[in-house]
């Protein structure tokens, strides 16, 4: 039990290990404001985002004693809107993982079943929202870290367009892929939080304002966007997930949404492409953790890094360093960058035919803790979510049903860059169609 004797504003029963730090558990924590468009809303913040005065560990021994000296832009905007920052949520160390098991401070547990993984890397944010410990949470999404745990826990998870939300104050994993995303019980709540945190920020040169509405010269009903589906993605999914996914397609078709078959790139190819780029950027970004300026300090840099990083972080750093090393994998890295550009052109060409892509979010339901011992098995949890980051697109998980064992199943809506609002509008219609609005609300 983690309680808040100082402020009396929060009481969290955290059997899930969803929180690494709860606001008010230190006497010095300042009281939170109570006015603004999100007044009274409690928000969990993933522990790789800076919240002034609170610890930020990235779930790593490397940063176990680090306390944030400033607010990330998203946190500053949330505070101004009157939210209460409930605390810092557990995660896979530095964002490397898809299960929530790779935290130096113990795994996050699934709210419905303690022997299952809630997904990751934003495991604590997903579990906290699904269990009703907070109204909404921030996560970060590099290859699916908001959408995949949202799918496994049965909540909404939005990965915004790359650049739509400032990343100032987010600990970098892979800078060309990283975004800060929103996790909430329903789309309406997701939208309210997103509208507060989105928008350009002088502290992040990659942030951008939303351009005007996309001019759509295709004939058709603008209120009935054309939905693209690729039957090939079905071969990577479990039967439980497929059944729910096909039901969603049928419901949308019956409701008058035009559904068109399209040809998406092979998910295994995209996963390989993602791992070359993400690992290379991660190895480069994590060079800053040397124990000299902050973090764990041992006798020398090598000992600090060796002792501070967990096994999965070391594994990713090794892969990334191999990808960048002359005479090793750097030819792959150059190829991957070229293929990524080709991919973006190919995916952007799809928007001449369809408005939204619909796929399952994760290939299966929440798996048992410890059941995926080989790294590649674990990485395959993300094979349906890596397309959006590679192409810089917004994507959102929608909880739409359950599998045979009662565990949640989600589908993913992906749209053109800066179509975030259109995705959320369609998401709300999908909630109504599937009857999840009532269930979540």
């Amino acid at each position: 039990m983690i309680s808040d004797p100082a402020c009396g504003s929060l009481l969290i029963r955290d059997d899930l290990n969803a929180f690494l730090y709860v606001h008010g558990s230190r006497p010095a924590d300042p009281p939170e404001p109570a006015a603004g468009s999100l007044a009274g809303m409690s928000i969990g913040v993933k522990d790789n985002i800076q919240v002034n005065g609170m610890p930020m560990t990235c779930a790593s021994r490397m940063l176990a004693d680090y306390v944030s000296p400033f607010d990330a832009t998203v946190v500053e905007r949330l505070r101004r809107a009157g939210t209460r920052i409930a605390g810092k949520t557990n995660m896979d160390e530095f964002g490397f993982g898809s299960s929530g098991e790779h935290s130096a401070f113990g795994p996050t547990l699934h709210p419905q079943s303690a022997d299952r993984a809630p997904g990751g890397s934003s495991s604590g944010s997903a579990a906290a929202v699904a269990a009703g410990l907070v109204d909404a949470a921030l996560g970060s999404d590099t290859g699916g870290s908001v959408r995949q745990p949202a799918a496994l826990c049965g909540i909404v998870g939005l990965r915004p367009t790359w650049g739509a939300v400032s990343r100032y104050g987010l600990t970098a994993f892979a800078s060309s892929l990283d975004t800060i995303g929103v996790m909430a019980p329903d789309v309406a709540c997701t939208r309210r939080v997103f509208e507060v945190i989105a928008g350009p920020d002088p502290m992040d040169a990659t942030s951008r304002a939303f351009p005007g509405e996309r001019k759509d010269d295709r004939p058709g009903d603008p209120d009935r966007p054309v939905i693209g589906v690729d039957p090939a993605v079905e071969r990577v999914c479990d039967p439980d997930v497929l059944q729910v996914y096909r039901n969603v397609v049928d419901r949308l078709t019956a409701a008058g949404f035009p559904v068109r078959t399209i040809d998406l790139p092979d998910p295994e190819d995209m996963l390989a492409l993602y791992h070359v780029i993400a690992s290379a950027e991660a190895a480069s970004n994590l060079n800053r953790f040397d124990g000299l300026r902050y973090g764990l300090r041992e006798r020398n840099v090598i000992r600090s890094r060796t002792k501070g990083f967990g096994a999965e972080v070391k594994r990713r750093i090794l892969t990334g360093t191999w990808c960048l090393a002359a005479g090793e994998g750097n030819a792959h890295y150059r190829t991957a960058r070229r293929v990524r550009r080709q991919l973006a052109f190919r995916v952007n060409a799809l928007w001449r035919e369809v408005d939204v892509l619909l796929t399952p979010t994760a290939p299966g339901v929440a798996f048992r803790l410890g059941s995926r011992r080989r790294p590649l098995e674990m990485y395959r949890s993300d094979q349906l979510t890596v397309l959006a980051p590679l192409a810089g697109l917004p994507a959102m998980n929608m909880p739409v049903g359950t599998g045979s064992d009662g565990l949640p199943v989600g589908v993913q809506l992906t749209g053109p860059a800066f179509s975030d609002h259109s995705l959320m509008k369609l998401g709300m219609e999908l909630e109504t169609l599937m009857g999840t609005e009532e269930r979540n609300g």
Partner: protein
């Protein structure tokens, strides 16, 4: 020591990590699996990009102004008819 062991040790040294023998054994297999997996990147058959972007960054030399303040920027002769600040063109400046 196998060739794979030597490779992991070399990469670990480049990454400023000091792995013990047990970790070397573990990561040797993992890295080999990942290398085999990412090799498929070279085989991905996406069509070549036919549209190319010909634009390039146009840089303007930094100039330090010591005789003006922000208020000067909004003098009427610096504004166009719609009240926008007039600045020299950057793109296509040389043409």
């Amino acid at each position: 020591m196998s060739q794979e062991d030597r490779r992991v040790r070399r990469i670990a040294r480049l990454a400023a990590l000091d792995l013990d023998d047990c970790e070397i054994d573990q990561f040797d297999g993992d890295l080999s699996d990942m290398i085999a997996f990412v090799n498929r990147v070279a085989e991905i058959g996406l069509p070549d990009v036919t549209e190319t972007d010909e634009s390039a960054s146009v840089l303007r030399a930094d100039r330090v102004f010591t005789d003006s303040c922000s208020a000067d920027l909004f003098e009427p002769d610096r504004l166009d008819g719609d009240g926008f600040l007039v600045v020299p063109p950057v793109l296509g400046e040389d043409t």
